[in-house]
Symmetry: C2
Subunit: 162 residues, 2 copies
């Protein structure tokens, strides 16, 4: 994330694809909120005995309240710290095959397995790195003239965080 975004001009970081779509700055805030409330907390709900297995709904708009006027560098540093702490937790949990098949209740999907949650954590990253590339590229679609034809990412229709 840092390698892709660090040092870019403010205007590029805060530009979106129009309307209610998300800027790179918004996307980083969304990823921070995921580290805090989604992946590892949901893993713990699945693994902890005796707790209600239903996940809290994920707030897809939390970043609009939480990022305030913090700098992107600040958000990138927070994301890096949270991610390192969360991957440490994951490693230290030493999951076995039986654990990976354990279930939680997703508020929209119903029963999901831990292995699906953890695979989704990875794909969620890839989804948003791809989205970051799309939003950054979008700002240059006029500047590249006829090359737009060759840039598939400019023809990928996304929406908000998806």
């Amino acid at each position: 994330m840092k390698e892709l975004l660090s040092g870019l001009p403010r205007s590029w970081i805060h530009a979106n694809e129009g309307g209610e779509s998300w800027s790179p700055y918004d996307i980083v805030g969304h990823l921070i909120h995921g580290e805090k409330t989604d992946w590892i907390p949901r893993m713990n709900i699945i693994l902890d005995q005796g707790v209600n297995k239903t996940f809290q709904p994920f707030d897809r708009f939390a970043q609009f309240r939480n990022s305030g006027d913090r700098s992107l560098e600040d958000l990138l540093n927070e994301f890096t710290e949270l991610r390192l702490a969360n991957t440490d937790i994951l490693r230290n949990t030493e999951l076995g095959w039986d654990d990976l098949r354990k279930e939680g209740i997703h508020p929209a999907f119903g029963k999901v397995r831990l292995k699906e949650l953890l695979a989704s954590w990875v794909v969620h990253d890839l989804n948003h790195i791809g989205q970051l590339c799309r939003v950054l590229a979008f700002q240059y679609k006029r500047e590249i003239g006829p090359w737009t034809e060759y840039m598939g990412i400019l023809h990928w229709k996304g929406s908000h965080g998806r």
Copy 2:
């Protein structure tokens, strides 16, 4: 590029989206060929006086001949070196506004300006980083179960290098 791909298992790096589509390994080879034959060499054709202004067609399949059985780490290192050398050349060329408006002849598009070529170099990176994310995510589309619905990148239809 290194941050995204380095250390991933061979099976993930060499898997594509089916048929003639490109794997992450193929994409890195394509980016290497671009550094060698596309962006800076075309800039030089535009800027050099007295040369034919028509670009050589870019070979979009060169990586299938050139990468051989080299490791991904080897390719990533070569890409990094070539990119650093090329951005050094770009900086040392000290382009002025007049230079950016100079023209070359693209084999498919006809007249293009240097500023369009250079902006396309950036968007081309973003396009292929997005594609890398898409191809990596594709291999996990079954493992994530119901989360596929939320992952826009899995619904982005690309083709080959585009």
